[in-house]
């Protein structure tokens, strides 16, 4: 008896689906094998800082992980001088990254802690991310974004979007692309080939290429006014324009401080997903037998209600410098390169103030 045409079509459809499923399984298995076999690529600024941190001699025992506000506004040398003067010396490294995201911080922190091979880290300072950049919207296909878009982060992002009343969970759909690229190890083998094509020691070359970004002392700190003095051409023009446009006039500055005072009493509520992530960051540092210390850098960007998170125990130690009444010296216009970043003098002062707060936190 001949099978009906419908049965035949159904059989073919089932067979096709089974074949596609087989292909997907083999793809996933191959991708997992390749991920473990291929060398980790050296492409992002986080890779460069991790390598410098890992190779430092003597090893660093204190690290500041944060955004450009940390990168441009926290001077490890000033911090170390202050702690040494207090009889509790530190040797610190600035691990500030432009626009570090909360979801990215987990991956960066894990890599950073793995680079502490001699277990010399004692203190990990974690800058609290401002509320309005918990998620980046640009460069979804950049190497950096793809690197941290694993399944777990993807699900966390969707949960975050679902909990945030200002966003829709559907706004997370463009993240399917970096997730796919992450799962498919996009460019991992190509990076290895490119290292070979470079012809020399890829690691040394890679560090050397970005050495200027690590500052004069190579401790990761480079204030914007110093970067401006060394820039030329288009880069210099862009920085000068930024300085001109983003540093408010004295009158506007006072208005901004007044606005900040009002914002302090109306912090944006932190979501459960963010609380979990902060607790996880804290636990990761604990596992390394180091002490996590969260801090809010001085600035004008609206912050999360991290004090609430601190009270709930997710953030064990919190040093907040977002209050212009409590730290008026950190809100002097002359200490800023632009509204979001301290200049060299401001960075030095903030590092000293942070060191004092840190010493107070440690107790006598």
């Amino acid at each position: 008896m001949q099978p009906s045409p419908h049965a035949s079509i159904a059989m073919r459809a089932v067979r096709t689906l089974i074949l596609i499923a087989s292909g997907v399984i083999f793809f996933a298995a191959s991708a997992a094998i390749l991920r473990n076999v291929l060398p980790a690529p050296l492409t992002t600024e986080a890779d460069r800082r991790r390598l410098v941190f890992e190779r430092a001699s003597p090893p660093y025992d204190t690290v500041f992980l944060g955004t450009s506000r940390t990168y441009r506004g926290l001077d490890p040398a000033a911090f170390d001088t202050r702690t040494a003067a207090a009889g509790r010396p530190t040797h610190s490294f600035n691990f500030g990254l432009f626009g570090l995201r909360l979801f990215e911080a987990r991956r960066v922190l894990k890599d950073l802690l793995a680079a502490d091979r001699e277990d010399r880290l004692r203190f990990v300072f974690l800058e609290m991310p401002p509320a309005n950049w918990a998620l980046e919207r640009e460069n979804l296909q950049s190497d950096r974004v793809i690197r941290y878009h694993d399944w777990r982060t993807f699900v966390d992002i969707l949960r975050y979007l679902n909990q945030d009343p200002q966003t829709s969970v559907w706004s997370g759909w463009p993240r399917v692309v970096p997730l796919m690229e992450n799962q498919a190890n996009r460019g991992l083998g190509a990076a290895a080939f490119q290292s070979l094509a470079a012809g020399e020691d890829g690691v040394d070359d890679f560090i050397e290429q970005g050495a200027a970004e690590l500052g004069d002392r190579g401790d990761g700190f480079q204030p914007l006014d110093q970067a401006l003095s060394r820039a030329d051409g288009d880069a210099r023009e862009r920085m000068e324009e930024r300085h001109r446009l983003l540093l408010p006039s004295p009158e506007e500055w006072e208005e901004s401080i007044e606005k900040l005072r009002k914002q302090l009493s109306a912090h944006q509520t932190v979501t459960d997903v963010a609380i979990e992530l902060l607790a996880e960051l804290s636990a990761l540092v604990d596992q390394q037998r180091a002490t996590p210390i969260f801090y809010l850098a001085p600035g004008f960007t609206p912050q999360w209600d991290v004090r609430g998170a601190h009270e709930r125990g997710s953030v064990p130690a919190l040093l907040a410098f977002d209050d212009p009444d409590r730290y008026p010296e950190l809100y002097d216009r002359s200490l800023y390169f632009d509204k979001g970043h301290l200049n060299e003098r401001g960075a030095e002062l903030f590092s000293v103030v942070l060191a004092d707060a840190f010493l107070d936190l440690q107790g006598p």
Binding site: I20, S22, F27, A28, S30, G187, F193, L196, A197
Partner: protein, 467 residues
Amino acid sequence: VIFTELRFIPFLLVVFGVHWLLPGHRSRKVWLLICSYVFYAAWDWRFLSLIWISTLVDYLVGLRLGALPPDDPARRRWLLVSLWANLVLLGTFKYLGFFVESAIALLDWLGIGADPWTLRIVLPVGISFYTFQTLSYSIDIYRGRLEPVRSLLDVALFVGFFPQLVAGPIVRASDFLPQLNRARRLDDVVWRSCILLFLSGFAKKACISDNLSLIVDEFYLHPERYDLLATWIGILAYSAQIYCDFSGYSDMAIASAGILGYTIPLNFDFPYLATNIREFWRRWHVSLSSWLRDYLYIPLGGGKGKPWHRNRSLMLTMLLGGLWHGAAWRFVLWGGLHGAALAAYREYNDRVPARFRGRVPVVVATVATFGSVALLWIPFRATSMADATTVVASAFGQGAGTTSADWRLLVVFAGLAAAHWIASSGKPARALVRAPGWVFAAWVGIAIACISAFSARAVEPFIYFQF
């Protein structure tokens, strides 16, 4: 849209899905034409007008040629209309700036001052390919080898069919138009071959060509800096890059057309395994070399007549073939050198008895042919004649550069050569096409994982887009 860009995959899937869901043959052709124009407009919608002009002119010329008796002298005039229209388009957008600049340079050299003005004409992507296609349509009708097509839709789809629109293969009207007469059937699609071809093309482009472009670009930026080893690595890298880039594109174009039910002829047949330069041209960019043979070389006299006449036809064809690649003297030089090599090979064939010619081992002949072709790529790729001279000097140990390269790259090239040789037998492809379903599915899964991991991060435009 570049075939290796992520956005091409959903585009192709939508085109494919809707194409096969549409009920009628005509509606499918309309859909394909719309998609083809959208594909082209994604680059620059303004230049769609050039495609329309080319299409319309040859459609009307074709109808007129078909309506006239074979011995009517007016046929020749109508053919000239097609030639004139297409060559004016090509000449204006591709060559006018080049000729103006060359004329100014010549006048300057002669000591006759000329105002240095340059034309800033954007080269429309694919113009060299589709003008040759439309020309073949009119010429074939003129020669009585093809019946004119009454359907403007069919002619428009023949010219604008997106898989081959921007970088070939140059499809002959006699190959493609008959396919439009019959409704395509999903059951006729040779799935495995298409998937295999698409993935191998993707791998060639994204994993080999794009990765090698980093080496090549760096090398040709300052060729004077490199020593003998690095120079040969640069030369080999470009030879591999241009082959993988163009043949990769052709493979993906053929596969994309294949899943829509259309057949586009193969454009490359493992050219680097050729044992002589003539065989190389029978294997490299087959659609162009056969077009040049049928529409230029043979009308010029071909292989008939005295040796001088034959060689003149050959040189003229290759010089114009070189110029087709780009409006620059280095392409003309490249074509001329290939013409000279072909003429020399013909002389060798004519003068050396077959019993002696047969004694050259195949390996030696293959390596010698590949070496010649690789060296001839130098003027094609170098940014100036001075750079080309520098590279040639360095390749023969006369360079002053000291920067070396990692010798392990030679192992990579040996691997590529081995893969080229193994694939040329066709056995791996045949084995995969005949394998059980789950084996093929597993291979596809593994291949995609490998392609993704080894794809260069930056998607480079196809080299032949600029031609």
